[in-house]
């Protein structure tokens, strides 16, 4: 019970409520025993104030008027007046009969009154319950509709969240896969880097014609391949070619790495790979061979190194 209901109960106790406010209080009281009890307590409290009213004697004929009213209204209390109406010694017998009649009448009327009271109570209940029931049904319907709406919203949000969660999980899976891939690639690169053994070799010549020539080899011992750069190389005779050789100390003969063609300025740059397997640590030699090269070194070595 909140302050507003307390307020309504207090105002009601003093008869201060408007009709609509009275209905609100009655409606709230149906389901709230505490409020019902408070209303009764406050009504009785307010009624106590009448003890402070200065008494005023009613008109002398008021009892007669009350009896007349009861008779005209058909209230069983018409009998209460007999004591006054039939008072007097000469009417003793009639009074005795009247008393008996009154007693029987009152007894009968008591039953009638009880039936009437029950009827009134039932009528009150009948008039109250449907109104209350209607109100409660309406409130129940409202609550049900509100619940339905909330449930629908909840389901919608739940579905949206599920979709979002599913998408996030997929993204997480993809991201994890990508991370794993990158980690693997990084690991591979690390291993590759660890295994990579680049070697740069400068070849020199003791032949007079090649004293100014420059020959550099960048060799990847892991991949067993390299790049050859030549500069200021003399032109070879017709029917001849430069041929590069990889000298593996574990092999009896140099392994051919291919024919090298030098341009008019004596420059050449070419990637090479030995025709046979060689070790990681090797030397290089450049010879002049027959046009198109030979499988096994025959001509003079003009450059060698490192």
């Amino acid at each position: 019970m909140d302050e507003r209901h307390e307020e309504l109960a207090a105002l009601n106790a003093l008869g201060m409520l408007e009709s609509d406010e009275k209905r609100v209080l009655n409606g709230a009281s149906v389901a709230d025993k505490e409020l019902r009890d408070l209303s009764t307590e406050l009504e009785l409290t307010a009624a106590e104030l009448a003890r402070l009213i200065a008494p005023v004697e009613p008109p002398a004929d008021m009892k007669r008027r009350i009896r007349a009213k009861m008779r005209s209204s058909g209230v069983k209390g018409a009998g209460l007046s007999r004591g006054f109406v039939l008072g007097g010694i000469g009417w003793a017998l009639a009074a005795a009969l009247a008393v008996a009649s009154v007693w029987l009448w009152q007894d009968r009327e008591k039953l009638v009154q009880q039936v009437a009271a029950v009827s009134r109570a039932m009528a009150t209940v009948a008039s109250t319950i449907p109104a209350n029931a209607t109100t409660e049904k309406k409130e129940t319907r409202n609550i049900e509709e509100e619940l339905k709406s909330l449930r629908s919203d909840f389901e919608t949000k739940k579905a949206a969240l599920s979709t979002e969660i599913e998408a996030l999980r997929k993204r997480e899976t993809d991201a994890n896969a990508r991370i794993a891939q990158l980690v693997a690639e990084a690991e591979a690169l690390k291993q590759q880097e660890a295994r990579s053994q680049l070697q740069i070799a400068t070849l020199q010549s003791k032949v007079w014609e090649y004293r100014r020539s420059e020959m550099i080899v960048v060799w990847d011992g892991y991949k067993r391949q390299g790049v050859l750069m030549l500069d200021k190389m003399p032109r070879v005779d017709a029917g001849k070619d430069y041929q590069l050789w990889v000298v593996d100390p574990n092999k009896p003969d140099p392994v051919s790495a291919g024919v090298v063609t030098v341009d008019d300025k004596g420059v050449a740059k070419t990637a090479f790979k030995p025709v046979d397997a060689v070790g990681e640590t090797v030397k290089f030699a450049l010879s002049v061979e027959k046009k198109g090269g030979v499988p096994k070194n025959e001509g003079p070595i003009v450059l060698v190194g490192p």
Partner: protein, 188 residues
């Protein structure tokens, strides 16, 4: 012959069982105070008489509903008569306006000085207790409760008539009546 020492509760219960003598004796005991209340509320002698007459007819009919464990006979009767008076005021269209220009000045419960010795005796110990409890309330609460009790007006009309904010009227009535209940607790 009914015994004079019968309490109002006994008389009302006997009335509920159809005892006409008890009803008459109860009338003699409580009618003057109820008539005084109706005159104050209705500000009309004739209307007050009609309400007293109708009220006692109703009291006779409903006396069997009285439960002495829940209330005193007098307060139970007051509730019947006040409801009737308020219904009558509503029917007369008086509930939404002040009948008297000087209503506030007249709308106070009788002080001990105003009440005669006989009245005080009639009010009894309970009346003294109610008087003390009412005097224990802050003045603004006491005045509003007395005014509301005697005039039977809605809180909107009371707020307008007295130039007091509606919220203040409600709050003072609520606090005052709850306090009054607590002070009288156990004796209602």
């Amino acid at each position: 012959m009914l015994q004079p020492e019968l309490s109002e509760e006994d008389l009302l219960q006997r009335t509920g069982r159809g005892d006409a003598r008890a009803f008459e004796q109860l009338y003699d005991r409580i009618a003057p105070r109820l008539f005084g209340l109706l005159r104050q509320m209705l500000s009309d002698e004739r209307e007050a008489e009609d309400m007293l007459q109708d009220g006692f007819v109703q009291l006779w009919s409903r006396a069997s509903d009285f439960d002495p464990s829940r209330s005193k006979a007098f307060t139970w009767a007051v509730m019947i008569f006040r409801h009737k008076a308020i219904d009558r005021m509503r029917a007369l269209g008086r509930r939404n306006r002040l009948v008297e220009s000087a209503a506030l000045e007249h709308a106070t419960l009788a002080s001990p000085a105003q009440a005669g010795a006989d009245d005080e005796a009639e009010a009894g110990e309970r009346g003294t207790l109610v008087r003390e409890a009412l005097n224990d309330l802050p003045k603004e609460q006491r005045q509003l409760i007395e005014f509301a009790f005697l005039k039977g007006l809605t809180h909107h009309v009371i707020a307008d008539s007295l130039g007091i904010p509606l919220g203040t009227v409600k709050t003072n009535i609520r606090r005052g009546l709850l306090r009054l209940r607590d002070l009288l607790k156990g004796g209602i």
